[in-house]
């Protein structure tokens, strides 16, 4: 690759993320339906999406609002499901450290599972990395705008979609598409298997606490394998 410009990188980012939209658009639609089904107004559902921009956090909040969960339990659940964003932040920060604060705030706000994966790939593949943050901005903006449109459509038109379309399964598949490449080592596999098993055992716990308990158990299992391997 020869010297690229910010504009070329931005457009490449928009283009590279486009296949992912086939998964994220039905997901956004489902998140919009979930918000209004939970009793939020159209404005509240759209505001949650515009401000939090996280499909799984939006879904979890909607489920807990529907169940009349206490405020702190709902915020804590959103925190736990969003912890992976912290891991992405740690992984990307060395690449973005040279940018000024406004850039870093903007890119942080727009970062999602998909644009993170896309950007890491770009940083690994590009020979000229001077403008990779423009690639990140292109993919993240495309995802943001299409996501908000899908959520708004779900909020406004959602109730009329027949359940037989099983659009909620698109959500599971979107996360499955992220899970499979996230499992690279035996320790990762242990973390995923233990979390998957514990979430089933703990399914009876209230307020989706099973998700929290299972995540912690999975992380502990990964750490345990990592420690025994090093001895």
């Amino acid at each position: 690759m020869t010297q690229s410009s910010p504009r070329q990188e931005f457009i490449a980012g928009c283009r590279d993320i486009s296949p992912v939209l086939l998964g994220s658009i039905p997901f956004g639609f489902v998140a919009g339906i979930a918000a209004v089904s939970a009793g939020m107004s159209a404005l509240e559902g759209i505001a949650l999406s515009v401000l939090a921009f996280s499909g799984i956090a939006q879904l979890v909040v909607s489920q807990l609002v529907a169940a009349n969960s206490p405020f702190l339990v709902t915020v804590a659940a959103a925190f736990v499901v969003s912890l992976r964003l912290m891991m992405y932040s740690a992984a990307l920060s060395p690449h973005l450290a040279h940018l000024d604060r406004r850039w870093r705030i903007l890119l942080s706000f727009l970062m999602t599972d998909q644009s993170f994966a896309m950007t890491v790939k770009r940083f690994n593949e590009a020979t000229d990395r001077a403008y990779v943050h423009w690639h990140f901005l292109g993919s993240a903006t495309t995802l943001y705008l299409s996501w908000q449109a899908a959520v708004a459509f779900g909020v406004l038109a959602g109730a009329s979609v027949p359940a037989t379309w099983s659009l909620d399964f698109a959500v599971v598949l979107t996360f499955l598409a992220l899970l499979v490449p996230a499992v690279r080592t035996r320790a990762d596999l242990a973390a995923a298997c233990v979390a998957g098993l514990v979430v089933l055992i703990a399914a009876g716990l209230p307020y989706r606490l099973a998700l929290v308990v299972a995540s912690i158990a999975g992380i502990a299992a990964g750490m345990a394998i990592e420690l025994t391997r090093r001895r």
Binding site: F79, M86, F175, G218
Partner: protein, 105 residues
């Protein structure tokens, strides 16, 4: 009113987690064990989200043939492992689920 407080709190939580290292901190300054634990967050959290969606569609464990989701999910995992394309699970899994649902009617 409290719903707006909730929306703003969730927005703050998601932003602060995203910005944690990019804006506020240098990950090199944190203990190795902490950074190690962070690397297991995606496989653990994502598995904890995906697994119930496949085997507990109605909130109770169902791995019988009456539940097509775990079958479609296993095929989607195989597709993701083989094809290594971000679209593979959804392009394979959702149409397969529709076919299985149609066949079971």
């Amino acid at each position: 009113m409290s719903i707006w407080l909730l929306i703003l709190s969730v927005a703050a939580v998601t932003f602060l987690l995203r910005a944690s290292f990019i804006v506020f901190a240098n990950p090199q300054r944190f203990p190795h064990a902490f950074r190690q634990a962070l690397t297991f967050v995606p496989p653990a959290v994502l598995a904890a989200i995906v697994v119930p969606g496949l085997v507990m569609p109605e909130g109770v464990l169902d791995v019988s043939l009456a539940n097509p989701r775990w079958i479609a999910g296993l095929v989607a995992i195989a597709a993701a492992t083989r094809l290594r394309h971000p679209l593979a699970p959804i392009a394979v899994g959702l149409p397969l689920l529709w076919c299985l649902q149609w066949a079971m009617r």
